[in-house]
Symmetry: C2
Subunit: 317 residues, 2 copies
Amino acid sequence: MSTGVFVGVDIGGSKVLAAEVAESGAVLRTARRTTPGRRVEARLVEEALTEAVHEVADGRSLAGVGLAAAGFVDAATERVVFAPHLPWRGDPVRSRLEQLWGVPVALDNDANCAARAELRYGAARGVADAVLVTMGTGIGGALVLDGRVHRGRNGLAGEFGHMQVVPDGRECECGGRGCWEQYSSGNALVRRARSRLGVEPTMLEEMCEGVPERLVGPMVTEAAEAGDLVARQAFASVGDWLGVGLANLVAAFDPDLVVVGGGVSAAGDRLLDPARAALDRSLVAAPHRRIPPLLRARFGPEAGVVGAADLARAAAA
Amino acid sequence: MSTGVFVGVDIGGSKVLAAEVAESGAVLRTARRTTPGRRVEARLVEEALTEAVHEVADGRSLAGVGLAAAGFVDAATERVVFAPHLPWRGDPVRSRLEQLWGVPVALDNDANCAARAELRYGAARGVADAVLVTMGTGIGGALVLDGRVHRGRNGLAGEFGHMQVVPDGRECECGGRGCWEQYSSGNALVRRARSRLGVEPTMLEEMCEGVPERLVGPMVTEAAEAGDLVARQAFASVGDWLGVGLANLVAAFDPDLVVVGGGVSAAGDRLLDPARAALDRSLVAAPHRRIPPLLRARFGPEAGVVGAADLARAAAA
């Protein structure tokens, strides 16, 4: 039994969050760094990681580090194949950092780590088959099958956000058109709310000081709470599309449970109720099946570090 | 080791096919019956099954019977929950026929049985994770995970044909709109070809004697072979939609392999080449992954009986 500290690190496009996580799943201590961006040497990102991990360890010995990366991680969980906001391009991140730090390092993408957190400590505990979606800027996803995160041939399973739901639909950052996350995500929520500014009366006008570019997701959540109709309709739209896309995933995988996390899920049932209605309406054979419960994730911004630390623990066991 | 005969039975909407299947997968002897329809007593269907099974056995003892049913089979593989063209509505078909025949009986839906045939003897042999689609009148499907057919919470995993690909699209028999099988299936192929009759010159005109309702799938396949442009464009359209829908499944599941079977797949690369092109074009992160091969199924109309017999063998083992 190891006595050192287990650290989970969430490496996002704009910031690094490192955390000491107890075996109970509790976050005991954190450290933050800014991500240097994607146009820098990989070394600079790795230095930021090293600083954050050492700050959390605070002189104690490390038992293992888990990394949750916002990017594609290969099937062997050795390399970050591509990351839109990070400099890694096929870099053997796991072994490089293991060598640098002299402790066991484990790696997976952020959505899979968030799924591990829910599976081990959260909404998906004890569940065999689950679909997990993370609604942030876009849609991240993970597939749990037989109680384990299913990674797929390339390690790319769970890329739900880029399933096409509208032929010749909105352009997506991935190069495709009509991707699900263009209709159901934080970006979609904000786009929808912005499109009503100056068209319908809304308190969002004042919140963003009349500058549409200043409107951000949490403002829409707050305005919806306060009863603003434009904000509520934005959630109704994004929630409806959430349910339509989930109906496709449930038709394919017939899971026990669907879990929704990420920043947009902070709105709770304001997002999930229209999603449940659309799921019930869109799902094939609805009268002949038990429709899976649609639950909010337990973990918010700490899902990645909690799952990454659990990954490190599992790798060390 | 049992010495009796293993029989697989495929119970479709219009006919019953029973077959003695060797352990090698070879079909040794068959018998056919007409399915009495869905507005009759369940007893009449069960009598047709009994006759077909006895004809195949021809006085020899039975080691086991596997049933492939065109309908929803529950998670426990005991009941046919619902079948659009058969009278069963939650009937405990497996145990009832086991009692009636005095031999072990196993049950699953036809698409899952077809997947078993490909997994054991066909295109998916030795593969861990695969997506299998059966393009007949509609789209049937099955999901292979870790070398086994994944059935899901309700036994309804693999209902790919009813994933929505067009919002407010064509009406589907399932009650939904814009389902994948409305754009990529035998019905979609024939609908597309019929829509060009009287609009463009085509040999299909003569084949169906000018009566659109007489046009059937095999005519379109034959005309496409002979170079008819309308028929070829119908395959190009259905093939393109096949690839678009498969891209969604590959994004979600990241399988090793995709297998396409069913009547429409008799057209081979005329169907699969446009599907491959659409898959390459539509799949997220295509430059960062190995795109799974898209193969034609080994088994045609006998897929169901071969898989059902294998199911019976596995249940008896």
